[in-house]
């Protein structure tokens, strides 16, 4: 039901956190960035990005402020809070452990 297909549960949160960790971005930019960086492999239904954004904001991991874009339009920018950064690092570490483990299993099978 509206969840991005092909994405491991919970990874969208991590992608968002990581994407805005360098500089504040608005929703559209976050989608563009995720698709761009993943070389279009991660296809996100654009709208499905917003509920997680609102959730993360409620959880206090990201905060939002209205600001002007380069084109001079008002947009809602999201940036990481301190708690969000901690959370991201925790999830990144998790992700590393998990992907390493999966890689190991997958490669062992191929050998």
């Amino acid at each position: 039901m509206g969840k991005p297909s092909g994405l491991v549960q919970g990874t969208l949160d991590l992608l968002i956190l990581k994407t805005i960790s360098l500089e504040p971005k608005h929703g559209w930019a976050i989608v563009q960035r995720i698709q761009q960086v993943s070389a279009e492999v991660l296809q996100v239904q654009q709208g499905s990005l917003y509920p997680p954004l609102h959730r993360l904001e409620q959880q206090g991991w990201i905060k939002a402020h209205w600001s002007e874009t380069e084109g001079g339009r008002k947009a809602k920018f999201y940036s990481l809070t301190r708690a969000g950064r901690t959370q991201m690092e925790k999830e990144l570490a998790n992700w590393d452990r998990l992907s390493t483990a999966i890689n190991t299993v997958v490669q062992t099978n191929e050998a």
Partner: protein, 875 residues
Amino acid sequence: MRWADKLLLRLRSLLRQHAVEHELDAELRFHLEQQIAEDLAAGMSPEEARVAAQRKIGGLVQIKEECREERRLDLIENCVRDLRYALRLLGRNPSFTAVAVMTLAMGIGANTAIFSVVRSIVFHPLPFRNPERLVWIRDDPSVLSVTFQSWRRMSNSFDALAAFYNDFFTYGAVNWTGRGEPQRLSGVEVSQNLLPMLGVEAAVGRTFRPGEDQPGAPPVIVLSHGFWQRSFGSDPSAIGQVLTLNGRNFTVAGVLPASFDFAAVFSPGARVDIFTPLILDKLSEEMSHYLGVIGRLRPGVTVAQAQSEMDALGKQLKAVDPTLRAMVLPIHDAVVGEVRTPLLVLMSAAGFVLLIACTNLANLLLARGTARQREIAVRSALGAGQARLVLQLLTENMLLALLGGAVGLLPAFWLVPFIRTLPNLPFPRLSQVRIDVGVLTFTVVASIVTGILFGLVPAAQLYGSAITDPLKKGGRSLSAGKHRVRDLLVVAEVALALVLLAGAGLLIRSFWHLLQVNPGFRPEGVIAVGIDPGGQKYGWLRSPDRGRRLVRFFDEIRRNVAGIPGVEAVALTDSLPLDRDRGFYIRPAGRTYRGLNETPLASIHVVTPDYFRVMGVSLKRGRTFMEQDTADSAVVMLVNETMSRKIWSGKDVLGQFAEIAGRKAQVVGIVGDVRHSALDQQAGNEAYLLFAQYPYTFMDLVVRTTLELGALAPAIRKAVWAVDRDQPLAQFRTIQQIIDRTLSPRQFSMMLLGAFAGLAIVLASVGTYGVMAYSVAQRTHEIGIRMALGAEPVDAVCLVVGHGMTLAGIGIAVGLAGALALTRWLGSQLYGVRPADPLNLLGVAALLVSVVALASYMPARRASRVDPMVALRYE
């Protein structure tokens, strides 16, 4: 800091919905426009770009709903929307709404009405200062003046002890003359410190001053608020006026506030017009038990401690008051004690009705919930979360419940004033029963709890089920589990209804038994009116010619009244049956008793010769009084059968002598037993004395007549006033009214419990019919298959009715257990029937079985007539 930020965000989401909603719009619009701009730059036409952007972002409505859900901003907003939706839904199903609202209105209305009664009578604190520290100290029947004075001197448990003299025999009645028609007022004497101790202050003027309760003090009175309104038009200039009461002049000192209704607390069912100071002089000490005693406990002293002190004092006071057995009761218990259990029983009964109503509603909603599964599935597919859906269902239920509560208030608004003004009901504080904010709060809370209760089952059903299932199944099929829930509801309804019916049946049979009781007199065609010339009009208590003057006065009245056309017989009595009674020690000649405890007591009735003819009391042996018996002839006495048996073993009673009420009298006749104290109590020792030989002032004129009370009353008044223009008459009553008055508490309980049981059976039969009809509809398919395979219509009927009977059987078994456990609370309200009376239980069980049988048969018969082919294609 984080939690503070979060809280701020949540609050903002909740309180600034418009801003938040607006931002969400702006955010998504920005996204779309950004995407469109991008695509335009890539060379698409504006139209293509718009479509592509919308495709990429996905369903906007759904995204927004999800975002809102993440923010949980929707509490109030959703409520409003749900409410509007629920209203529309209810409007679309008017018959469902009507049935549901009426069902709830019955349940909630019954509860509101009875709660308003229970709250005012049982739960409200008494309107005194710190009422929890007040105690009522009782002795049987009431306290001696000397005993009270000794308590005051000797006890340490109380800040103050006060007494009142609300004569249970004459109702403290006094004659008010010198201002228009003579009036009969009812008064109470109170010790000077009673009103200050209760914390009651005068509304106008003042209450009694110290010293005004001493012998020889200038006589003053304080008026009750009601009397002041009635007789003085609430005129403050009443203060200082002089009232002539029983020939003595009293100065009005003050008026008590409307909030202080002495009678409503201390002698329910009576009326108090005036208060005079209680003077504890020598004369008071010669009177028998007559005081009511109220005390305020010293701080830190418990009721139990006060009781043990009174016990100790009782031993010391043996010499002056040998029968003293003081009982210290918290005042609230003393006032409310007798009516608490019957009222709480009624309250529980109303609760049962509400439970049945809830069960019905749960049933209705279950059936409708099944029909609505598709709607809910669609909404869920469109992004409504489960919690959200349950909330919406709850909103609908609340709305229904509150509507039911509002409609239920209507009968309550009618019923409560009706109960408040029931004329004969001696409940304390009955006049204060009303629907107020507290009662309305109760109604709202009851409605909300009801809404949750009956909404629980359908909500649980929704919560438990996989929402998308119905979409796949196309609305077909039902799990057996839901049948079981419905069956359970039928069982519950039958059980609850059975308990109520059993209780009502017991009360109705008790009442019927009481109506069958032979009271020993014939009330038909007899009216009574109190005539009391008062204390000293015909001389002081001991003046030698007082008796003769009293007899002459009443003889003249008797003669005048006997001359009125339509009057068959006239007599006087000092104590009408079921109205009032007083006991005297009786000492049969030739016997000695050790102490007063062993001396037999008899109620005495001072009458004129025709009394037995007027009242229809039968003569068993010997003779009744004759006009030849006079003040100067031998002192004679009649006894009832019980007394002749108890005191003389029924042998050689005629001719026996006994000392009673200060004179030695000879038994000349035996009359039939009269139930004097209550219809449900056997007669005790009753002695009849002749008025000419035992003259008293407080008499009731009794008249056997063919006329109506209203037609005769003016003539009797004229006949009395021909003797003395200043003689007031008390209220005219028929003997039947006196009987009705004693039956009224039972009648009240019976009528209400009967009404609740009636509601219960109506609701239970409607509910059962609903379930059976629904289950038949669900089984039409199955029935069709059975009939296609050769089953007869009668088999189908048996199938359904059998199912209904099984449920009824279980419900009746549970209900019987409940009835056996609960009906014993009816206790003293029962007469001539035991709680476990098999006839009663069998009767109500049979009634319920037939109701369920009918409720199952009707839908079953319809189903059995269905063409199998239609049934197979059904759904």
